[in-house]
């Protein structure tokens, strides 16, 4: 049974095929939306952004050479647009808001309630990680990206991806410990 791969669909999009564009949009819009929303934390901005990301795909499809997967390509475009939008919204102020909660050793009401449920507490604490750490966690665990693909999306060397992931995990364990959920690692 033949199946249309993302790459084949992009080739069809390059020839102006709207149905292929619809299929690609349907296939990737949710993950791109979630990725962008986790970065910009504003649903309206995230929705605007995914239309811009896919419009870039429509425009750039003839130049797509298949050096990376389509999802990696889309995530790289999405990240660039999200960070540009964040800069416009005074990124420093946003980071400060989230950074404050990271330094807070006291349990948030959510974590206190969820101590009994380790998975739920982890979800809350992943959201408290710095943007860089949260991003690498999402790209590896949720978007299933390899070291090379994360490097391509984030524009940092592969060695940095590995150490960033390590310190993201370490920070997450520290947050868990601070919340009274010592995991014995690192």
């Amino acid at each position: 049974m033949s199946t249309a791969t993302d790459e084949e669909l992009v080739a069809r999009v390059a020839q102006g095929d709207r149905l292929a564009m619809q299929v690609l949009f349907g296939r990737h819009q949710m993950k791109i939306y979630r990725f962008v929303l986790r970065l910009v934390r504003d649903e309206a901005i995230a929705e605007d952004m995914i239309s811009e990301v896919f419009l870039d795909l429509w425009k750039q499809a003839p130049k797509f050479e298949g050096r990376s997967t389509v999802s990696t390509w889309l995530l790289a475009i999405a990240r660039f647009k999200a960070l540009s939008a964040l800069r416009k919204r005074r990124e420093d102020q946003l980071d400060e808001d989230y950074g404050e909660s990271i330094e807070d050793d006291a349990d948030t009401p959510e974590v206190s309630v969820q101590k009994a449920d380790k998975g739920a507490a982890l979800k809350v604490l992943i959201a408290k990680l710095s943007p860089d750490h949260r991003e690498v966690i999402d790209l590896v665990y949720y978007h299933d990206k390899s070291v090379e693909e994360v490097a391509e999306i984030t524009g940092v060397p592969e060695a940095t991806v590995k150490t960033r992931m390590f310190y993201a995990r370490k920070k997450l364990s520290e947050l868990m410990k601070a919340a009274g959920l010592d995991r014995g690692w690192p």
Binding site: M1, S2, T3, A4, L9, A14, Q15, G16, D17, R18, L19, A20, M21, Q22, V23, F25, G26, Q29, M30, Y33, R34, L37, R38, E43, A46, E47, D48, I50, S51, F54, L55, W58, P62, K118, G119, L122, K123, I126, A127, I137, D138, V140, Y141, Y142, D144, K145, S146, V147, K162, T163, M165, F166, R169, L172, S173, D182, R183, G184, W185, P186
Partner: protein, 231 residues
Amino acid sequence: MNTMIEAPMPNQEIEELLPWYSTGKLSPSQRARVEAALANDAHLRLSLALIEDDRAAAIAGNEDIGAPSTKAYDKLFAAIDAEGPRQAPLMARAKAGVVAMIADFLGSLSPRQLAYGAIAAAVVLMVQATALTGVLVGGGASSYSTASGPDEAGLPGNGTYLLVGFQPYITADAMTRFLETHSARIIDGPRAGGLFRIEIARNRMARSDADQIVASMRSKADVVRFVGVSP
């Protein structure tokens, strides 16, 4: 349990690879190294177990995020519509390349008048071939212009319509086959929840007939996760 691991970690390099071991994204040689280290290091095995917890939480955290509205879809295709149809760049390049090649070839062998005449004939042949190709392949972008065209999207219409949600793992080919089997075509979508509005008949069918088609579609549970009648 809860044994603290002293820093620096003895298997730091392997430790850094564990998340990708967990997701199956290592090369065979890296995977073999990690597995060899795991066999001899309880700390690494603890670390891997925690990674699985983290991974499950990251996935759950993302999946908690709801679907975007149809605003993004509408905006995207409005922008694409505003750009107008485009010619396939590959075809355009191929045509230009062949004409140039013919010109070069004839120009090198013949007097100028012969070269011009031959180019004109070649161009006529090329135009005919292009027209025939256009007919055979269905005219490119225009083949799908009805899928979300401004003339139909969002309008009740006079036909019989359903709302269909495809399984998330469905391929484009399987979707196309499903639509062809039921003589249906996509009119609009994806809407909120990933639903598509499809037309199953150009005229208004009796409700009992439409219900039969709905039942038939619902029996294809490997293809669709939702089918319902749409106004």
